[in-house]
């Protein structure tokens, strides 16, 4: 018993470790987290999959064994106890009981028997040598069965669990007949030693199936690698469905599946959804996850080195990779996931500062309408990898987004997955296109146009008498300088210059001047750009001016965007994929049976009270004695009542 409790404690501690340390992560994650030394130590202890480590299973098996032995050893005694009426109780032992009293009354034997039986007690009559008769009675003996049920239940549940455990796999891995695959291989090339036949009794794995595609195997994580489990059928994903509530929360994930039996070739169609699995040949198929299944994409590539050129069309597939040649250089374009639905909380920050009264009012309402959850439309993520293997990650949104009344195209960039995306907001023109911005960007990037621009800007400044004629040349040079510096490095370059070359006390004033020059000149940049393209000049109004100022921000942000090409998503055909989990667990019903036994056992143990009553009918009196499996207040009460009852009955007779 003590040993068993010690083992149980070890199991409990191991279980706690398993909840704190994330289980079954890819091994490199652990190595990164713990360092090489501890990584190896923990691996040796099996801590990355505690619940399936050999020592954990060994302790479990031992506990099952010891519980079984306990049942076998104590069982017969228990059964004997249960059956027995303890009719051999002597006068002394009756007297010694805590609830025992010599009553000054005589009861006729048949009547006493009836009284006891009338209250549901089973009675055994034992005549004694001295002429007295002992009536040994009892009630609630099934209480003892509770111990049996509860302990057998433990064994049954553990056996069911072991049936579904991966013991055969462990053995296979130990003997070397099964070896997890650690390489990324196409399914067909995975060697035989990493494959498990369809006859395998118990397994649990998953597979991702794109729409219109099929799968006839699943993959199971095993240590550092994975195993392939063959299925007795082929599963084809016809369509994946996802529904949302009006507030953007997901409402339904469902997959329309076609199941084709490998043996008979018969097909059948089913729909599975979360909480509603499908069982085929004893294999339960669950809706586990979903994602992009590789969707055809159409993109427009804007050459950022030559933004004046019309964009070229590119086709690709999400989750796919393809080479991309830009300005004579080779890049690898690696698409990530296409997300058609992006729900964001567009609530303005700071709206949380509320008075107590407002909070009280909010607390009364079960519906909050102020939360601005909004679907901001499809997005595609991709990486652009150069010849040195360096890559940045981009996330482009397809739909225009409105902010403060104006429309933008939004693109995120980051150089490291651990960082948040930095967003670029490109203002859209009246055709909802980024073409005007690109035109402006091209003009800014083209030093050949600077003379024309600075002439216009200077002329305007003269006209508005913002500068004196003496400063004309200097102003004109400044315009040129600011433009070229800005075009090369955005606001950052101007700031850099100020920090390097200008005394701290003058920076503020000079920065103001630069900004003013830039804000004035950008109007002329646009005019020149329009003229070069043979288009009409823009009207000078607040709306267009805001476009230009936004453009300046975007041009500056494009420095950090750091790509030779801007890929504008123009279309897609969504192909989704569904993550299916499949299990075969023959132990399930065994575990349920054990659970049922356990509940019955607990109820019998705690809610059926075993009470024994002895009535020793003597010639000149009666001894009453009672016991219960628990000495509690109930027995005190029972005993008192019994004494009263017998007195009353004897009086009536």
């Amino acid at each position: 018993m003590r040993f068993a409790i010690g083992l149980l404690t070890i199991l409990a501690i191991a279980s706690i470790i398993g909840t704190v340390l994330k289980q079954n992560e890819p091994y490199p994650n652990y190595a990164f987290e713990f360092g090489q030394f501890w990584f190896v130590a923990f691996e040796k202890l099996g801590l990355y999959d505690v619940y399936h480590s050999s020592w954990f299973l060994l302790i479990l098996a031992f506990l099952v064994l010891s519980t079984t032995l306990c049942i076998i050893r104590n069982g017969p005694t228990f059964l004997r106890e249960m059956k027995s009426f303890r009719e051999r109780a002597t006068d002394n032992s009756l007297r010694a009981m805590r609830h025992s009293q010599q009553l000054d009354l005589t009861l006729d034997e048949a009547r006493a028997m009836r009284l006891l039986q009338g209250h549901g007690l089973r009675v055994k009559r034992v005549p004694r040598d001295d002429g007295s008769v002992l009536l040994a009675a009892k009630k609630g003996s099934v209480n003892k069965l509770g111990y049996f049920f509860a302990h057998i239940a433990m064994v049954v549940i553990c056996i069911g669990g072991l049936m579904d455990g991966n013991l055969p796999l462990k053995l296979g891995e130990l003997t070397g007949s099964i070896k997890p695959e650690t390489r990324e291989l196409p399914q067909a090339q995975i060697p035989e030693q990493s494959r498990l036949g369809a006859g395998n009794l118990s397994f649990r794995g998953s597979v991702t199936v794109p729409e219109g595609k099929s799968a006839d195997v699943i993959f199971m994580n095993s240590g550092n690698g994975y195993l392939v489990q063959e299925l007795p059928f082929i599963v084809t994903l016809k369509k994946f469905h996802v529904d949302y509530y009006s507030n953007g929360m997901p409402k339904l994930f469902a997959s329309d599946l076609i199941i084709t039996d490998k043996g008979s070739g018969k097909t059948s169609e089913h729909t599975i959804k979360v909480n509603h699995p499908l069982v085929v040949d004893g294999v339960a198929i669950y809706q586990a996850s979903f994602g992009d299944g590789g969707s055809p994409l159409q993109l427009k590539a804007w050459n950022l080195q030559a933004p004046q050129a019309a964009p070229t069309d590119i086709k690709g597939n999400s989750l796919g990779a393809q080479p991309l040649k830009v300005n004579g250089r080779d890049y690898q374009l690696e698409f990530g996931e296409l997300r058609v639905f992006n729900v964001e909380n567009t609530d303005a920050p700071g709206s949380d500062d509320k008075s107590l009264e407002q909070r009280l009012n909010d607390a009364r309402s079960v519906r909050q309408d102020t939360k601005a959850l909004k679907n901001i439309g499809p997005s595609i993520s991709f990486k652009l990898r150069d010849q040195h293997g360096q890559a940045r990650e981009y996330q482009h949104y397809m739909a225009p987004m409105q902010q403060d009344g104006e429309w933008y195209q939004v693109a995120g960039v980051r150089s490291d997955v651990a960082q948040p995306f930095q967003y670029l907001r490109i203002p859209l023109d009246k055709d909802m296109s980024i073409a005007s911005f690109m035109r402006l960007y091209a003009a800014l990037k083209n030093p050949a146009l600077y003379d024309e621009i600075r002439e216009r800007t200077t002329a305007k400044a003269m006209q508005g008498q913002a500068i004196s004629p003496a400063m004309q040349q200097q102003f004109s040079d400044s315009v040129r300088w600011v433009l070229s510096r800005f075009a090369q490095g955005g606001f950052g370059a101007l700031e850099q210059f100020l920090d390097d070359k200008v005394p701290a006390d003058k920076r503020q004033a000079i920065a103001q001047t630069y900004i003013k020059i830039l804000q004035g000149a950008v109007v002329d940049v646009m005019d020149v750009a329009q003229a070069k393209a043979g288009l009409a000049p823009w009207p000078q109004d607040a709306k267009h001016y805001r476009f230009l100022l936004d453009s300046l921000v975007s041009v500056s942000a494009l420095q950090d965007y750091a790509a030779p090409v801007y890929l504008e998503m123009s279309g897609f055909e969504q192909v989704q994929s569904s993550g299916l989990q499949m299990t075969r667990s023959p132990g399930k019903n065994v575990v349920y049976l054990g659970s049922l036994l356990l509940v019955i056992g607990i109820i019998l143990m705690f809610y059926v009270r075993e009470v024994r009553v002895w009535l020793l009918l003597q010639r000149d009196g009666t001894r009453l004695a009672m016991t219960s499996n628990r000495h509690n207040r109930d027995l005190d009460q029972d005993f008192e009542r019994m004494v009263d009852y017998l007195n009353k009955q004897a009086g009536e007779a």
Partner: protein
């Protein structure tokens, strides 16, 4: 638990018992006549089953006979005031200040706090009247809690038909359930064992939960009704969650009784509290009830997991901690029943048990990641 000298059940039932049963049957019949056509076979079975369970509960515990119909009537009144229009929550005086689910819960919180104060005042000053008032307020708080849950259920359907769901699906709602169940269980034992002074202790743990509810409401707006994500759209939830909270409530109560018992054994407040032996027995009974329901809840959870996650046991942190809690109380009961332990060690153990249970209940959601994250803080 049946006594030896007891009339069989049918002989013990009085007119009041039958009247209550009739009320439940009529209510169930009326519901059926209204909605029977919309119920499938399972739902009809559940209607019948829950009616039987309600009758049984009323026969077993006389106070239930007025408590449940009263809570039902209060929420029916709220539904009447709503008149199929959620906006009435802000317009109707009765709803705004009393009966809308949120107002009910705020009243529940207030009453629980007041009851705690009264129980303590009554215990410290040995004033039976104050303690009786404490009981009364606890009852009132429980009525608001149950009626509020019913009303919230209705309100969820008013938001949108597809949003409608039973209010036991997020941390906010289960905390209210926890308060309700702990209070009701305590009130049952209070009447049965005449241990009113213990209310001061049990109400402390309820007040702590109430404090959390208030913070969660005002700071996190957690009270808003959100629709069910697909993983929670299951019948199992409706029985798994309440069963679990009977367990949690019983364990919390036993721990507070343990605290009272430890104080008595050290001579603190000893003259103002019931005897340590009585408390020992109540503690045992509470743990026995909690253990039964926690076992059932864990099994139901396993059956749900078999439908939802592809396996009845996945060693998810929540599952593992449920196992640890279960083992903890199994060992507790073993020690009492097999080794005959009594008194102080078991009282300490019950207190420690609450820490383990609380971690399984809240800690896992806060600190560990897993499939079972129904409420982040």
């Amino acid at each position: 638990m049946e006594m030896v000298l007891q009339q069989p059940l049918y002989k013990r039932l009085a007119a009041g018992d039958w009247l209550y049963a009739l009320l439940i049957v009529v209510a169930a019949g009326y519901s059926f006549s209204l909605y029977g056509s919309a119920l499938d076979y399972y739902e009809q079975l559940i209607l019948a089953g829950s009616s039987i369970a309600l009758v049984a509960l009323g026969w077993f515990w006389p106070s239930w006979r007025w408590f449940f119909p009263l809570a039902g009537a209060v929420s029916l009144l709220a539904i009447q005031l709503y008149d199929h229009n959620l906006a009435r929550a802000a317009e109707s005086f009765g709803l705004k200040y009393l009966l809308s689910s949120q107002s009910s819960f705020m009243w529940m919180c207030t009453l629980f706090f007041l009851a705690t104060v009264l129980y303590w005042a009554g215990t410290l000053s040995r004033a039976g009247l104050l303690m009786r008032m404490g009981s009364g307020l606890t009852w009132a708080a429980a009525v608001f809690a149950l009626a509020g849950l019913f009303t919230r259920w209705y309100e969820s359907y008013l938001i949108a038909p597809d949003v409608g769901r039973i209010p036991v699906s997020n941390l906010y709602e289960v905390f209210i359930l926890f308060c309700l169940i702990t209070a009701l269980m305590y009130l049952y034992y209070e009447a049965k064992f005449a241990v009113r002074q213990v209310g001061a202790f049990v109400l402390l743990v309820i007040s702590a939960a109430v404090g959390f509810i208030l913070w969660y409401t005002f700071d996190r707006q957690a009270h808003e009704i959100q629709p069910l994500i697909p993983a929670l759209q299951s019948w199992w939830m409706k029985i798994h969650v309440p069963a679990n909270f009977v367990g949690y409530g019983a364990f919390a109560m036993s721990a507070m009784i343990g605290v009272a018992q430890l104080l008595i054994r050290r001579g603190i407040l000893a003259s103002r509290l019931p005897s340590a032996e009585v408390l020992d027995e109540v503690m045992y009974k509470a743990i026995a009830v909690g253990f039964l329901f926690f076992t059932i809840a864990t099994i139901l959870g396993a059956m749900w997991a078999a439908d939802a996650w592809g396996g009845y046991w996945s060693w998810d942190p929540k599952e593992t901690w449920a196992l640890i809690v279960w083992l903890n109380y199994a060992a507790w009961l073993h020690m009492r029943l097999v080794k005959g332990w009594r008194g102080e060690p078991l009282a300490w153990w019950a207190v420690v048990g609450l820490l383990v249970t609380s971690f399984a209940f809240i800690g896992v959601n806060m600190f560990l990641s897993g499939l079972h994250s129904y409420g982040a803080l």
